[in-house]
């Protein structure tokens, strides 16, 4: 897939509950093709503390308004500077980068999309694409607390949404892998993105139940295009770049102890 280096225009930059922003970007040109699970490398401003680009996953692409959505958790200097961008500001992005979630095979009807924290971001685009293919995805979203649950109404447009919070402020109490839906329903394929311990717990559940499972990893990156070999993960075929061989990996290819 062809990659682009673009100056996109901020069309809105909204503070969400908790420590998150929803940034929408547009262009006079039609936005390039992008697949669920892919990401962008964003240039913040090149100041000493934001020297390298920041990888941000693609949350959603609205083809009607020609807008790219980023759901961003404010964690450091880079993301905080992104939060300061205003409508009309330009943001330099490299995209689309990485592989993507694979589409279900004909026999895979029941699809579970598990997101934790800001890791829910790519699940919206994935859900929208699956819905457009005629699937009825189920979302299982986990967060520390109600204020960390983002975009619930958006997810509800594409499938049933189940929620866990660690402090019981919304949905069922606990982690995503404690949710009762996992006992009630048999899934054929699981997609997940979120904190590594959560993804490992989801992968362990999938593995135990013989369910195909794809995880989206987020390692520290420099180039984003497989040139520097900094972001590697251990796979059964040796070190692979999360940025270019991933970020999506099938758990059967990883060397996770699950």
């Amino acid at each position: 897939m062809r990659k682009y280096l673009l100056d996109l225009t901020v069309s809105s930059n909204e503070k969400l509950s908790g420590n998150y922003i929803l940034m929408k970007l547009t262009s006079e040109e039609k936005l390039p093709e992008m697949l669920p699970g892919q990401f962008a490398e964003v240039r913040v401003d090149g100041s000493p503390s934001t020297f390298l680009r920041r990888p941000i996953s693609i949350h959603y692409v609205d083809r009607n308004t020609n807008e790219l959505w980023f759901l961003i958790q404010l964690v450091g200097d880079g993301t905080r500077k992104l939060a300061d961008l205003k409508k009309g500001d330009l943001l330099n992005v490299m995209l689309p980068l990485g592989n993507s979630f694979s589409m279900p095979t004909a026999g895979q009807k029941e699809l579970l999309l598990v997101g934790g924290g800001v890791g829910t971001a790519p699940m919206l685009m994935l859900g929208s694409v699956l819905k457009s293919l005629g699937c009825e995805p189920t979302f299982l979203l986990g967060a520390r607390s109600k204020k960390d649950l983002l975009q619930l109404d958006k997810f509800e447009a594409y499938g049933n949404v189940f929620v866990t919070t660690e402090d019981a402020t919304y949905g069922e109490k606990g982690f995503v892998t404690n949710h009762s839906i996992l006992k009630q329903k048999k899934f054929d394929k699981i997609y997940t993105c979120g904190p590594t311990p959560m993804m490992k717990a989801v992968a362990a559940y999938a593995s135990k139940n013989g369910i195909e499972c794809e995880v989206s990893l987020e390692n520290t990156m420099a180039c984003g295009i497989g040139a520097c070999l900094c972001c590697v993960t251990d796979t059964k075929e040796g070190h692979k770049c999360v940025c270019s061989d991933g970020p999506v990996f099938n758990i059967k290819d990883l060397k996770w102890q699950i």
Binding site: R2, K3, Y4, L5, R43, G46, P48, S49, F51, L52, R53, M94, N219, T220, M221, A222, C223, G224, I225, G226, A227, C228, L229, C230, C231, V232, T233, D234, G238, H239, S244
Partner: protein
């Protein structure tokens, strides 16, 4: 348009911009963004006699105006390069150079011999300065005797242009450069990364799996410039300058300090089109100052 051609030994380049090994993959990774044939030279990933998995993750830490890496020469080995990668890139209309690394003198020689047989690789860059491998690597580049021994051995086995990449992690880099020149190198390139480290205070842990790594990026430029200037004064062979070049002005500074060509490394991660921009910017500088050729500014720093 000024004349941007420059020479490194027998190697003729259409402009003085090359890509630093390990920052540009095999060139193909950047071809969506630029016409890579417009770059003066592409130095591909460090290549060793055998496959290397490199160091465990985490291998990278962002630091103020720079980054540390501890990749550790991950590559699939010279035979894989020759069989699978070389056929894809050999017809690129620019100089493709291979960065050769090793753990023993015999490894360096064997790898250089295999690369010598490739018609479309006119030069190698001998990496005696990698700070991220346990054996060999930088150990060869930090003493005059060991640098001379490995360069002499490779010189006997390799007849095309031999560039030797020097380590900045030494007391007197000009002495090392002189030893390498005496051993028959056609050129020296400098600097490789500077050994550094990063600590996560909250976790009381090093950031990198290897504890230490190699520092690169804008923050190293003053050190690199100083070393290029010192080496260019000491040796007669052409010098290739690198270390923190982020734009055309930085590149011109290295040329003025005595570099006949420059390499762009970490900046490729931030702007995948930077090589082309720097080549154009050097031309703009030459035109603005009325120079006909890039050769008119090499080493023309006025210190009096």
């Amino acid at each position: 348009m000024a004349d941007l051609t420059t020479n490194i030994g027998k190697l003729v380049m259409k402009n003085p911009v090359m890509t630093a090994s390990g920052t540009f993959g095999y060139g193909e990774e950047f071809s969506d963004f630029i016409d890579i044939s417009k770059i003066g030279g592409i130095i591909v990933k460090g290549t060793t006699i055998k496959h290397r998995e490199g160091n465990p993750y985490p291998r990278m830490a962002e630091t103020p105006s720079g980054m540390l890496n501890a990749v550790g020469l991950q590559n699939k080995g010279v035979d894989y390069f020759i069989e699978h990668i070389y056929p894809r890139i050999k017809d690129t209309d620019t100089n493709i150079l291979v960065n050769v690394s090793g753990s023993t003198v015999a490894d360096y020689v064997a790898t250089a011999e295999k690369i010598a047989a490739l018609d479309h690789i006119p030069a190698i860059e001998l990496n005696i300065s990698c700070p991220n491998v346990k054996e060999g690597g930088m150990a060869f580049g930090t003493s005059c005797a060991s640098a001379e021994s490995v360069v002499s051995a490779v010189r006997k086995a390799y007849g095309k242009t031999l560039i030797v990449k020097l380590s900045p992690n030494v007391t007197n880099i000009a002495e090392i450069a002189l030893a390498v020149e005496a051993a028959g190198a056609d050129s020296v390139s400098l600097i490789n990364t500077i050994m550094g480290m990063a600590i996560n205070a909250e976790k009381r842990r090093p950031v990198l799996s290897t504890v230490t790594g190699g520092l690169s990026g804008a923050c190293v430029k003053p050190i690199a410039l100083r070393m290029v200037w010192q080496v260019a004064k000491a040796v007669k062979i052409p010098v290739v300058g690198l270390g923190g070049i982020m734009n055309a002005t930085d590149a011109v500074e290295f040329l003025l300090a005595g570099a006949s060509a420059i390499e762009i490394g970490t900046a490729n991660f931030i702007d995948p089109t930077i090589t082309i921009k720097v080549a154009e910017g050097i031309n703009d500088y030459l035109e603005r100052h009325g120079f006909k050729s890039v050769k008119d500014i090499i080493g023309q720093l006025e210190t009096a």
